[in-house]
Amino acid sequence: MLQKKKRPVIALAGNPNTGKSTVFNALTGAHQKIGNWPGATVEKRWGTLLKKHRRGGQSAKIVDLPGTYSLSAYTTEELIARNFIVEEKPDVVVDVVDASNLERNLYLALQLKELGANLVIALNMVDIAQRRGYKIDVKKLSELMGCPVVPLVADKERGIEELIEVSMLAAEGKVKSRQLSVNYGRDLEGEIEELADHVLRHAKPLAKKYGARWVAVKLLENDAEIISKVNSLDDDICDISLINFAKETEEKLGEPIDINIASRRYGFINGIVKTVLEKSPEERIIRSDQIDRLITNPILGMPIFFAIMYVLYQAVFLVGEPLMGLVEGGVELVSEFAENALIAYNAPEWLSSLILAALIEGVGNVLIFLPNILLLFLGIAILEDTGYMARAAFVMNRVMQKIGLHGKSFISLVLGFGCNIPGIMAARTLKNKDDRLLTILINPLVPCAARMEVFVFIAGAFFVPAVAGQVVFSLLLLSFVLIALAGILFRKFLVGGKREPFVMELPPYHVPTIKGLILHMWERTKVFVQKAGTVIFVVALLMWFLASYPDGVEYGSAESYIGMLGKGLSPIFAPLGFDWRGTVALLFGFLAKEVVISAFGILYGVADEAVLTDTIAAVWTPLQAYVFMVFILIYVPCFAAVAVIKQETGSWKWMAFAIIYTTALAWIVAFLVLQLGTLLGYA
């Protein structure tokens, strides 16, 4: 019988900013799965080799390992990458190496070899290296690293076919590959040998899994995970002796062994780089530095950042407006068509109302924002992929420090303007637990696109266009003030004062690829669309039901369930001047902020947006409207965001805290604004 060939697993490793995700995209296309590595808030991506790349129909599973500088256990990412290679034993590990940054990148490659991975080096961005005048002897590099090396320009999909071919051959064990062993120097080698011998005798399971020499080196490097693994072995006496051995060696040699070992590895790599790389001395990344001087300039840096953000927002609304009109027209068309069909088929009234009011209006009202959100995320993807975002974090570092946050928190805040969910998830890049928690807790205060739409709608109803713009802007300023206050207070009273030291690579500027941008944009917008399709759909149904029953009541009137609910809860909001309709709208806003507008439509029994604005404007005073917007700005984020807070903090306690503090703060600030406004005579 014909035996089906096992589908090989190819793992992608590499430093951050080497174009690893571009390679991953080229191999898997859009068919990617995203999840979490078990037990960690680190993103896991995997996918299947694209059909067009399959030779002889042979498929492969591609796993994208987190981007790391090494395989020590400093960060969770490093540990995940290492464990995957050891535990899952991928058939091939492809290390994506930046050709213009060979020395630093080969450090990881060397560690992968030491770990015994079946390595293929993908030498990426050879075009940039060439332009800088680097000449790399690929054959020699392959020889010295003891594994195949494939030159690549992943951006332009050059070399991808070769990479797949070589990887597949490597998976079948058909390429030349040899063990690589770094000489750690006479003194250390003796110790390593002796320790490896101990490991072989007393820690057999570990020796079998990792190799005795590797375990010995890691013990000398004081690797926390390996030490704890040794500790958990049964053989107590020799565990202690193994660890003590490492300590004694350190004392004997009188220098930090881990640094010594890392230096030796770099020394080894340096030797290789000297042989394979020819560099003309004049060539450096001068232009990138010059741009940096301007962009990170102490005086101009911040104005430049705000100018870029301003242009981005203007562009989003400029391009987004007509697109929103299109979507709106589309929704209307569907609505009309449905109405006619319902009449033609003599559908019962409740069904027509369900379909028209709940489904089409409810979901349609939210989908209208889709173009703006897509564009905003496209803009942010451009800022990230060109390398600007790292500079923005650099520029904003001081401000962030002042308000208790970390420079890198800034990226999370910027993303929050699109949607708080990717914003909260971006806090993952922070290694320090306190920094991360703080960044997550603060993010709901950033007004997401959905809330901005509600503001634009309400402000548009109550104020003339020129003033409406200022009103929305004032809300934005208020959110900045609150973010700063919350940051300072939380840092002082809630989390520890220890901050992660700031070390961040500034990737050279580069022109992003369309494909990369679109994938990047889509990943984040997907959350929003899924929300529209699921949560908001269900909410719209629920709202419709509550507004239509008990049987016989007028749709959305005070006698309906929804009216009763609002009336019951309105005492809480009475001091803020919200009536039961406002209360209901806020309740539904917890499910999704965009729903507030649809809720008004249902509560006032008008579907048409233009009529709706007039209706609301007749009932409320401008001050009431403003107070309402202030409340919406601050109170509990939508429940999808709350779920992500739980997921990312891993704690119900912090989730509850996020819900309570935002809502309490919203109530207090709204109350103060109302009092102040009344005093000033705006009532």
Binding site: Y69, S70, S72, Y74, T75, S100, N101, E103, R104, Y107, E221, N222, P256, D258, I259, A262, S263, Y266, G267, K279, P281, E282, R284, I285, I286, S288, D289, Q290, D292, R293, T296, N297, P298, I299, L300, G301, A390, F394, V395, M396, N397, R398, Q401, G407, P501, F502, V503, M504, E505, L506, P507, P508
Partner: protein, 98 residues
Amino acid sequence: MVEMSLRALNEMEQGRIVEIKAERQLRKHLTEMGFDPGSIVTVINKGTSGLMVVEIKGCCRVAISTDMAGNILVEKIENSGLPQGRQRRCHGRGRRWW
């Protein structure tokens, strides 16, 4: 050879890393990132935002807090290995040109 902290170097000056004074984990991380003893760093940009940009391994740009740079000990390289042409160009452009 003068030993000083990385923080004390001026823009476009170079130093050879001697020692990183930090707790063990961080020290290791920095070493593996390319701040290994013996390798050369060049100060590219001393911003005022509490961060500075340095070049390591001859091409990576890394932003690092000045506090931490204060804990990295370097040996200053006099007449740094930068080609004269470049040095002049960078000084001409890099210094307060606004």
